[in-house]
């Protein structure tokens, strides 16, 4: 089995997750912009974003942390 490919895929997946979460963040910010433009209750929007965005990033960073951590923690003698 092609370890290189799988390795690539793993990296790809983790980056996709980042993409997703940044996407969500951008979306929320955009909605805040909207609500400011239409001046209907941006406060609620802000509140949500303050909670939501950090949460998403914590999740993604935890994932990355594990991802990198596991790679670092490999035994050197293992053959790929």
């Amino acid at each position: 089995m092609n370890y290189k490919l799988i390795d690539r895929l793993q990296i790809l997946s983790i980056s996709l997750i980042w993409l997703l979460f940044t996407g969500i963040a951008v979306w929320i910010l955009n909605l805040i912009k909207e609500s400011l433009r239409l001046h209907d209750a941006p406060d609620a929007s802000l509140g949500i974003s303050l909670v939501a965005i950090p949460v998403f990033f914590t999740l993604s960073s935890v994932l990355t942390y594990v991802f990198i951590g596991l790679r670092k923690g490999r035994k050197k003698d293992v053959e790929s």
């Binding site: 089995m1 370890y3 799988i6 895929l9 793993q10 979460f21 969500i24 979306w27 929320i28 955009n30 909605l31 805040i32 909207e34 609500s35 239409l38 209907d40 209750a41 941006p42 609620a44 929007s45 949500i48 974003s49 909670v51 939501a52 949460v55 998403f56 914590t58 999740l59 935890v62 994932l63 942390y65 594990v66 991802f67 951590g69 596991l70 790679r71 670092k72 923690g73 490999r74 035994k75 293992v78």
Partner: protein, 448 residues
Amino acid sequence: MEKAPAAPNPDYDLLRPIEDPGKSFYYIVIVLLVIILYTGYVYIRQVYYGLGVTGMAQPVTWGFYIINFVFFIGISHAGTLISAILRLSKAEWRRPITRMAEVITAIVLAIGGLHPIIDLGRPDRMTHLFYNGRLQSPLLWDIVSITAYFTASTVYLYIPMIPDIAILRDRGVKPRWLYEFLSWGWQGTEQQHKVLDRAMNILMVVVIPIAISVHTIISYIFAMTVQPGWHSTIFGPYFVVGAIFSGIAAILVLMIVFRKVFHLERYLKLIHFNYLSVLLLVMSLLWFYFTFSEYLTGYYGHEPNEMRVFWYKFSGAFAPYFWTMVTCNFLLPLILLSNRKTRTIPGILIASISVIIGMWLERLIIVVPSLANPRLPYPTGIYIPSSTEWTLFLGGVSVFILGYMMFARFFPVISIWEIQEGRQESAKAVTERITSYMPDPQTPLAKG
């Protein structure tokens, strides 16, 4: 631990369902697939003709879809929340249970999350949410919180699974590439273990508030309106309690099923059921307490519109459902679980199923009556769900079953490495912990 020991590990028969699933598995899958395909057809028909094919009308403009949405999301609180709490409180008996619970969460959330979309009159316009949604609408809050919860719980499910996936990989279970890909190169080194533990510690802390927020926000959908029976401050906690309540019931049912199907008596012992059912009993009492105070305040305030809804539930058209709910959620569990003789596997099974039914009824009773009794002098609305709605409900359930079966087909439903870890370490850890609770013998007491 080093690499997998040569001696056949007793826990490896947990992998049996994965290594050879057996015929019956495929039969069931086929049946479920048929149901799901039919559901798909029914849904497409609904999209084609419009929501008219449902039983909804004015003034009851929300029906099964919203009810099931709330219900499924409620069930989802089984997993992550509970396992997180158990992990956090270092309850050692959690080890065989946690994963089952977390899987429920992941799958049910996916299903529940779809329901609002099913409920849309114009699903083709979903995209409007993205380029000009409005965060001031509780619906948007929901979308955000549910996405967060879904991702969080999947991560929380996945990370503790890595070692087991590695085991599968090492045993060369097909499809190899999948396990290779998912195991993220786990080899069980000290370092990796440290990383994993740290990650999990962070996650279990993060997950709990998210889980709670999700159901609180779902309750906001109703509580944010000024409708009688909805506009209530305790709806948030009320919903959360209900959710955990139904969640625990769901786990219990699943545990009993798996115990039977995969012969896991060695792992899922009576003690587990005992603990969980006590938890269920506690939640049942808590639920009753909330229900009681919710309706008492409404009744005592005696605001005419509130009362119209109130009587509609207590003695009106919805009385049968209401009292069934009370029986299912309170009386029956109380009787069955408070008494040691009936707190047996069958007793627990009955109690849990009745709780699941009861909680579904509760959602029904929250959604419909308030809509059916408008403030202005309109005639009381009627709501008779159509076959379409029933089918989609059935479909949702079968998707859940299928999903769970697929998971059980590819991954162990009981965390092998945690059990082993438990075997090897926790005994030691626990004794240490206990001694640490005890007063130190060395230092003599100061003489008075």
